[in-house]
């Protein structure tokens, strides 16, 4: 695959495993074994059963007629919001928990920002009967209280990350530090296509079920496997990696990656890493990241807690650099407008992350005969407080 990872863990010039020696045995064990474990027929059977019966896959590919009419093109929504726990995140955690069991691990750690990956991890740990520790920035614990309660209900321990800026970046640091301190019995379930090799590739493979299904479903509905556009939002980039995966080497398919511009790309309050980032090292991966001139990692901003990561997965850095994917940055305001639009046109309340992808529809200007597949990565229930507060400030109290 031209855009796949090479044997050294690189996508073009991005990727690799820039980790201290304390992490080397853990990461190396995973690197040696992940492909062979994932190829085992029993592993695949167990994974497919869980995806079908537990996660609820395949998720529908829904022809959104009223949205299509508005943009004068043919839009399909890949309904990842209908997965168990409400987003695509569980595709990865189900896969990694099966992997962790085969590696003989007894203890699972994870990082979370908005809490979606934390909930998806706590869920599969309950299912597998494994101890679960989720690191979450103290700032995010305050902002995402319902997800914290869900994780606790599921039996997970939520540990506040009090270092640095106390958000996703720091929760990830704390999870990595935990792994350093538990080098033998613990598996770290990273929630996105970030981190040292093999994580970006492993997570992309678990998420690739999204594009695998899109191809089959589109063939049934349109008589062709390849859409003209695939649109997905990008924070770290896991739902986009899954939605793009089986189209990466199909040059006729336009890949649209949508980042969060926050208050505007040049406002100083943004998370548009492909525009604002420079090549560097974050969480063990060489990729584009937002940083000061001196190489200190900066805190991004977006109304969406799932998109405010200062880096981006190395696959996406490569897609941006080579021009294989077009990167579009969408502001808070445009995303929130798109959220209301989809709610009223189709009766689907999307997550704020996903709403960034929806807002990009007007930038793409697809033709009436063209087919657009948009990855509806998650549902908006978790965002209800943010949504209500936002519109109250915009429109005044009801």
């Amino acid at each position: 695959m031209e855009y796949g990872v090479n044997e050294r863990g690189y996508y073009g010039q991005f990727g690799g495993a820039f980790i201290p020696e304390m992490l080397y045995p853990n990461v190396e064990e995973l690197r040696e074994k992940y492909l062979s474990i994932m190829a085992e027929p029993e592993f695949q059977q167990e994974l497919q059963e869980l995806l079908h019966d537990y996660v609820g896959r395949p998720t529908p590919l829904y022809h959104a007629k009223r949205l299509s009419a508005l943009y004068n093109t043919k839009i399909y929504l890949k309904r990842e919001d209908l997965n168990h726990t409400g987003a695509h995140k569980i595709n990865n955690t189900v896969g990694q928990i099966l992997l962790a069991k085969r590696l003989g691990k007894k203890r699972i750690i994870a990082e979370t920002g908005a809490g979606q990956h934390g909930v998806a991890t706590a869920t599969v740990c309950a299912l597998a009967g494994l101890e679960c520790i989720v690191y979450m920035g103290t700032v995010d614990i305050e902002r995402q209280r319902p997800n914290v309660e869900k994780m606790r209900l599921l039996g997970a321990t939520v540990v506040p990350a009090t270092s640095g800026s106390q958000t996703l970046k720091d929760a990830t640091n704390e999870a990595i530090r935990d792994w350093i301190n538990h080098p033998e019995d613990t598996h770290y379930i990273i929630g996105s296509v970030v981190g040292p090799h093999p994580y970006p590739d492993m997570v992309a493979r678990f998420q690739s079920v999204i594009s695998e299904e899109i191809r089959k479903q589109l063939l049934e509905k349109e008589g062709r496997e390849l859409p003209d556009y695939v649109v997905a939002c990008v924070g770290g980039g896991s739902n986009a990696a899954g939605a793009f995966y089986h189209f990466l080497d199909e040059p006729s398919v336009n890949l649209i990656a949508v980042e969060a511009a926050g208050l505007g790309v040049d406002s100083g309050h943004s998370a548009a890493t492909s525009v604002l980032g420079k090549t560097g090292i974050i969480h063990g991966s060489k990729t584009l990241l937002m940083q000061t001139e001196d190489g200190q990692i900066t805190e991004p901003y977006s109304i969406s807690a799932g998109l405010d990561y200062p880096g981006v997965g190395p696959l996406h850095a490569h897609l941006a650099q080579t021009g294989r994917a077009r990167f579009i940055a969408i502001t808070d305001a445009d995303a929130m407008e798109a959220l209301r639009e989809l709610s009223r046109l189709e009766g689907i309340i999307p997550a704020i992350e996903t709403s960034h992808a929806l807002a990009a529809l007007k930038e793409i200007k697809a033709g009436p005969e063209e087919v657009v597949v948009l990855n509806l990565s998650g549902r908006g229930d978790k965002d209800l407080n943010t949504i209500l507060t936002y519109f109250e400030q915009q429109d005044g109290p009801k």
Binding site: P20, M22, N173, I180, G284, Q296
Partner: protein
């Protein structure tokens, strides 16, 4: 060549080597050289200066906090190298710079090596620089500027890999005492003793210094039984937090060790 200061040290002194770590620009921006001078005067054999980073993955709470303060004080690689300008007229103790790769990359690796060597730095610890990248990209640059790269090993590092590291390096090996971040309590266990004696028995060409969890005289002396010396970091950072004047803090901490 700069690395002579390191090799000379290991030729002259074969045991009980004391390496002290501190964060550049901590507790005050201008303390770096003061601490360095005082450490030499108080008998440190090597000094490891940390270049602060926003996201120090391998460090525990004490060093994390010192990194944050140093950054707030305005410390950067550029400022540190300016502070070290002319330092070789004042101290002879070997100096090692420790830091994460990202700030070094942004400064420019070649330029960093050139400037560090010019001010009299002897070696580097870049814990997140992988082997393969080191051999292909970074080694020639380091060698050109006469800088040694110091590698870490842990209780989980295989014998093959330790031997590979021994072959690649020409100063000393940083032996992490247990699976942990910096500043955790050292726990003397049978498995740790077995690890220490296993590594000691490998007959490596490079000297060994034990770090992580070494905080006081007993743990320093214990480490010195199994290696050529030891590295103290977090405990020294804590000593710098005492209300006395910084020179006094350095002196009194080192007095407790000898």
């Amino acid at each position: 060549m700069a690395q002579n200061r390191l090799s000379r040290l290991f030729q002259e002194k074969s045991g009980n080597l004391l390496n002290i770590y501190f964060t550049a620009g901590y507790p005050k921006l201008e303390d770096t050289v003061t601490i360095l001078e005082e450490l030499e005067a108080a008998g440190a054999d090597l000094v490891e200066i940390g270049m602060p980073f926003s996201d120090p993955l391998a460090d525990g709470p004490t060093i994390q906090a010192s990194n944050m303060v140093a950054l707030e004080n305005g410390m950067s690689i550029k400022t540190l190298l300016q502070q070290l300008e002319g330092v070789r007229e004042r101290v002879t103790v070997p100096i090692i710079l420790m830091g994460y790769l990202n700030p070094v990359m942004q400064y420019g690796f070649e330029r960093f090596c050139e400037d560090a060597a010019r001010v009299g730095v002897d070696g580097l610890i870049l814990p997140d620089l992988p082997f393969a990248e080191y051999e292909e990209e970074y080694k020639p640059v380091l060698e050109k500027h006469g800088l040694s790269l110091i590698f870490l090993i842990t209780p989980q590092t295989s014998e093959d890999r330790i031997r590979q590291i021994d072959k690649l390096t020409n100063s000393f090996i940083y032996m992490v005492s247990s699976a942990s971040t910096t500043g955790s309590q050292v726990q003397t266990s049978d498995s740790q003793k077995a690890y220490f004696s296993k590594v000691k028995g490998l007959g490596l060409k490079n000297p060994l210094l034990i770090g992580f969890g070494i905080s006081d005289k007993p743990s320093f002396e214990m480490a010195c039984l199994s290696a050529h010396g030891a590295i103290i970091g977090s405990a020294f950072i804590k000593a710098l937090q005492k209300p006395q004047e910084v020179r006094e803090n350095v002196r009194s901490f080192l007095q407790t060790l000898r």
